[in-house]
Amino acid sequence: MENEIVQEKKGFPLRKTIIIGLVVLLLGSMIGLNIYRANNKDVVKVQTAEVKTKALVENVLASGKVSALEKESIYSRVTGSIIWVNVKMGQEVKPGQVLMEIDIPDAQQRIMQARSTFAAAEAAMLKTPGDGRSNDLVDAQALYDKAENDFALAKEKLKRNQSLFDAGAISASDMEAVQSAYDLANSEYKRAQGNLNAARNGSSATLNSLQASLEAAREALKVAEKDAEQHELKATMAGKVLSIPVEKGDMIAPNTLLISIGQLSTLKVKADIAEGDAGKMKIGQSVNITAAALPDQIFKGKVTEVGLEAVSKTKSQGESTSVPVVVNVKGSGHLRPGYNVDLKIRTAEDKKALVVPFEALVEKNGKTSVWVIRDGKARLQNIKTGISDSTHIQVIRGLKQGEKVVVNPSSNLKDGSVVKT
């Protein structure tokens, strides 16, 4: 029994030692972890990028539709039908070349009618006196001349008889008679004067009316003759046939598009630039053009026109304001009018720009800043930015090459925070 007690006494301290050891280990770990956490609590883990130099090209993206720089669309002026189409799409044509023949049923009849109307108007003009005066005017002039002459005589007679009356050579009744004749001659003179003025106006209006009728008839004749010319539709410019919407046998009405001809040596693309980018546009800027229809090809163009006025358009997404630009591109056999294309307009370039990635930027209160790491701490630095491409933006002021900036900074980053990468 004593041995058992001794053995029991020897076993107990070992168990105690193990428990004490475990507790000490646990306590030591706890204390150590707490100290470690306290020292590293404010340390923020961040991702960084280096401020470096890079060849930066700023592009403005837009899209538009290709069209021929020089193009003519010929519309029908008459009602008729297509007899024959003499050309094919893509065919080269010259000015004066007959493109198609159109049957215009009443063309000759209209010409004859117009000619007849013109002849009648011409004849009416010829009926007027050689010096252009009407008969009424001639009569009124004659009456006026007579009345003027009579009035002058009556006036002279009155004057003479007044002297005689004053001298007592004639009686009062004779004087009255002379006075009465004078008054009559005066009133006749005035009436004749009024008739003459009226005759003059009327004559002028009649003449104008006849002149106008003659001109109208002349124009109508020209139109009829011009319409009839469409019987053989001719090209007015050299170029290629772009499209022929009609075909043999089709009935056509006025303003039906018959054929389009264009010069494909130079094409143009009209695009709308968002108003935010419009200020960067300049004539002469180079443009890379790609089309969905030609995935592996890039065409080179140049900005030739920049609109001076912004235009508002209502689209499904809402109203948008943009400035139109026109880009010219050399025609190739592949790019065709009507294609939808994407434009990459090179607006600015800097071969050695100091840049940071977009993810480093912090926008606050209208200012642009970045978190720069200096002496192991994050510092908020205001910067001035310049041009940009799809991934980086130029820093004009505020940073030096080689400095490290925080990328995608977290919201708990504060000025002076200790950071680790």
Binding site: I19, A38, K41
Partner: protein, 234 residues
């Protein structure tokens, strides 16, 4: 076979025995379940430890209240003054309440499993099971004194120590922070002591105790995640 004179196990041996030989010690306690002395000892030590860091507690209270713009300087001063006193009173009053709850839960199990324990025995088990909490308090007080008032918010003795520094919010943090190692130790002692008193398998008592505890910390973690604001920055 060891002959143990259970009647003669002193209070000191009981305190030490709970740590090193819990089964044997709880058997001795069960024979002579004394409540007053161990309760007073534990409450006094706890209150003393709390009182020892009253300056740090008041400083932390002041720092936290100053962040609230609605608090005037007078209000802050009053709150700081009562913060230290309140902490000591919480230590004095809080422990008996916890013992009561723990004893009640054990009594419920005792009732359901037709155990042989009395409430007094179970209450004594709860008292002695809180010894790990005292050890926990010693560590926390020591670290607080060493690292300052601001560190009180970040000092941990839970599984949240395993998380990276600075991570002080979210469900995972709240859940791990609830899993205090000394609490787990205390619950183990509670399970062992309860099993001994009830004359039941300690493992089954342990499953019962730990299941209740897991539900409690899960629910409190969910609430803390949804409505809490994380550890405030100072």
């Amino acid at each position: 076979m060891i002959l143990v004179n259970e009647d003669s196990m002193s209070m000191g041996k009981r305190f030490a025995g709970v740590v090193f030989s819990p089964v044997k010690t709880f058997k001795a306690i069960g024979e002579d379940p004394r409540i007053l002395v161990p309760a007073i000892v534990i409450i006094v030590i706890s209150a003393l430890l709390t009182a020892f860091i009253i300056p740090e507690t008041q400083e932390l209270t002041k720092l936290l209240l100053q962040k609230n713009p609605e608090m005037t300087p007078d209000m802050i001063e009053q709150s700081v003054k009562w913060a230290g006193i309140g902490a000591v009173f919480s230590a004095i009053l809080g422990m008996p309440i916890i013992w009561l709850i723990q004893a009640g839960l054990l009594a419920l199990y005792n009732q359901l499993s037709i155990g042989q324990a009395t409430f007094k025995q179970l209450f004594t088990v709860a008292i002695f099971s809180s010894i790990p909490s005292l050890i926990n308090s010693v560590i926390v007080v020591g670290l607080t004194k060493a690292m300052g008032a601001k560190s009180m918010l970040s000092i941990k003795t839970s599984l949240a120590l395993l998380l990276p520094p600075g991570q002080d919010s979210g469900f995972l943090y709240n859940f791990l922070n609830s899993a205090n190692l000394f609490t787990i130790w205390a619950l183990l002692l509670l399970s062992i002591g309860g099993g001994v008193m009830m004359n039941k398998d300690g493992k089954k008592v342990g499953i019962y105790i730990f299941a209740l505890w897991l539900v409690y910390i899960l629910v409190s973690s969910i609430f803390a995640t949804k409505f809490g604001t994380g550890t405030p920055a100072l």
